[in-house]
């Protein structure tokens, strides 16, 4: 019982600390904005026109599952 109370109190303290810190924005949009701000001399990067490993992996999976001949009519 005492252990549960202590754990609950500690978790509240931890979550309070975490709430005060801004959560990093790990969205793809933000990643693109960061790359844009850091890139110099490369127009594609500056305009946010780049393909990540995630993008290629997504296309790889979808293309692998598709039968082009079966859909040809």
């Amino acid at each position: 019982m005492a252990h549960n109370i202590v754990t609950a109190l500690l978790s509240k303290c931890v979550s309070k600390d975490n709430d005060s810190l801004p959560k990093p924005d790990r969205s793809r949009e933000n990643a693109r904005a960061v790359v844009q701000s850091l890139s110099r001399g490369n127009l594609s990067l500056q305009f946010g026109w780049y393909v990540t490993e995630e993008d290629v992996e997504e296309m790889r999976k979808e293309n692998k599952a598709h039968n082009f001949t079966a859909h040809a009519h």
């Binding site: 594609s44 293309n63 859909h71």
Partner: protein, 195 residues
């Protein structure tokens, strides 16, 4: 510190080929491949380690395979070429998929000559590229690079065909509307007769 000028020249060829592929892919997709850029970063690191005779452990986790710095730099250049070519290859195949989805109800073979043959070829490329294991990408870089132009040509023919197919769809919808109007008027006529 001495180094082999011939090896540097050879490495420059690999680097230039990777950079050219990266540039072609950038124009094809209107987007640059960051995996390829990363590989060239690693290639640069290994080149400098080769030139300075550095013996510090590599920061790149995949490099613990006993290759020397020059070999690792060459490997990363070839991987860069693969990554730079694979991105537009996957992109073009995605565009072709989108085309097939858009015109799934239309007879594309009436408009695009050799359409089925084209798709058989796309399937063959798709299977070949999918079968390449992550660890052996540098060996197939040149092969994948050769597929980019072929897929670009197919994609460009399908893009041109869109206009013709769209005209067919518009004409078919007009004809369908006339048929429905005719049926409606017939039904109205029959009802009016009995009233």
């Amino acid at each position: 510190m001495t180094f082999d000028h011939n090896k540097i020249a050879e490495l420059k060829q690999y680097y230039d080929a990777a950079e050219a592929t990266l540039k072609e892919g950038e124009c094809a997709q209107n987007a640059i491949s960051t995996p390829a850029i990363n590989e060239l970063r690693y290639a640069g690191q290994h080149l400098l380690r080769y030139l300075t005779g550095s013996t510090e452990p590599s920061l790149e986790p995949d490099d613990d395979d006993g290759d020397d710095e020059w070999e690792n730099a060459a490997k990363h250049c070839k991987r860069a070429m693969f990554d730079a070519a694979e991105a537009p290859v996957q992109f073009y195949m995605k565009q072709i998929r989108v085309f097939q989805e858009d015109y799934r109800k239309e007879v594309v073979t009436d408009v695009v000559a050799g359409y089925v043959k084209m798709m058989v070829r796309v399937d063959a490329i798709n299977q070949e590229v999918s079968a390449i294991a992550k660890g052996s990408r540098q060996k197939f870089a040149e092969k994948v690079r050769n597929h980019v132009q072929e897929l670009a040509d197919i994609n460009s023919q399908l893009r041109v065909a869109r206009e013709e197919l769209n005209k067919k769809i518009t004409l078919r919808k007009k004809q369908e509307r006339l048929v429905y109007l005719g049926l409606f008027l017939t039904v109205v006529g029959i009802i009016a007769k009995f009233l």
